[in-house]
Point group: C2
Chain length 219, copies 2
């Protein structure tokens, strides 16, 4: 059966980026449908009635939701090309642990960097850097989180990279000064075509955040 | 090689219950080590330095952390007996979606039921019931979340059941009146020896919560 694959997404989403990268890695043809999050499509509401969020992968009419679950699903179904999760169960559990860590710990402070100011902003920056330093300690001197090849943890973290310029500008700090190995890792990731093709431009994200920020912060 | 399996746990934990159930389901012999969460063991801090939380499964000296990841890990390593995740990748993604939903949506309101009062308590009860109703709608008239057999979603939800008596008593409401099918499902689960052996007694949990509550609520 010919596969019909549709991705409901929103261009600056670090979660959507995960799915876009994996679809390129696996060589899967798909239709990209941009969502207007202020006016969500009936298809999005129908395909993800619980969370009503992007990204949603629709394969032959059947939805898969939540980006880290979508990535695992794609890796399991299209398992012959560019495997992302380790084949060893223990290493797989460790990869899941770090993706879970990213999902639980990184989003909240990263959001507060551009949506708060003063003491709240300082606390957000501190927390954000602490989380990145834990990840840096985990990366050590390996090229990628899983070792020699680009994998599940890399896919799930790299989407944040296109937001770094916005974080640094609104937070007035340098992520590279704090976490040089994370930046070296991110640059290594962007040498992959699947990543460079899927990551939005940092300045474009900055422009988007600048607009969004008007709702939260009065400069 | 003989497997040496140790579980670091704390008896009322709905997350620890998940792992206890699966270890019984799979017929895995293990050593249970109760943690004092006010005075965590050096082993816990060493095995889970990131979150410093139970449960931790230690297999031949190597730790696996985060209950839903531990359950998947055990299911993958001991895959011949009592499979918990569906073998079909799409069904597996759906099971992961619902466990993720439980983890994101149920814990927070359930905690607020016994740790707040007044309007905050009423909001917590409303949210808790809404989440259970979404799950009930998903269960429909199936015996278990995955269909005919006890599986991943059941394992990850049933640990809350031993807290229901405490929620109902402190919240002054009946979960059964709101979600009768969830209660019927829970009773069905407790007919399994793996569940009845692993779930602490609801009145004992109530006693524990009563003590804990003194820190949060002045009656």
């Amino acid at each position: 059966m010919a596969e019909e694959v549709v991705l409901l997404d929103f261009w600056p989403s670090m979660f959507g980026v995960r799915v876009r990268i994996v679809l390129v890695e696996k060589g899967i043809e798909y239709e990209y449908r941009e969502e207007d999050l202020r006016n969500k499509s009936s298809l999005l509401l129908q395909m993800n009635p619980v969370h009503k969020q992007i990204p949603v992968l629709i394969q032959n009419g059947k939805p898969v939701c939540e980006s880290s679950i979508i990535v695992q699903y794609i890796d399991e179904v299209w398992h012959d090309k560019a495997p992302l999760l380790p084949s060893d169960p223990y290493q797989r559990a460790q990869a899941r642990f770090w993706v879970d860590f990213i999902d639980k710990k990184l989003y909240n402070p990263s959001r507060r960097i551009w949506s708060t100011k003063g003491e709240e902003l300082e606390a957000a920056k501190k927390e954000f850097i602490e989380v990145l330093k834990v990840l840096e300690e985990q990366l050590k001197d390996k090229p990628f989180f899983g070792g020699e090849t680009f994998g599940y943890v890399d896919v799930c973290l790299i989407g944040y990279y296109c937001w770094f310029y916005a974080y640094e500008t609104f937070g007035n700090f340098s992520i590279e000064a704090e976490c040089p190995q994370i930046i070296a890792w991110a640059k290594r990731c962007t040498q992959k075509e699947s990543v460079s093709k899927s990551l939005p431009d940092g300045k474009k994200v900055f422009g988007f955040v600048q607009e969004l920020r008007k709702k939260f912060v009065v400069d």
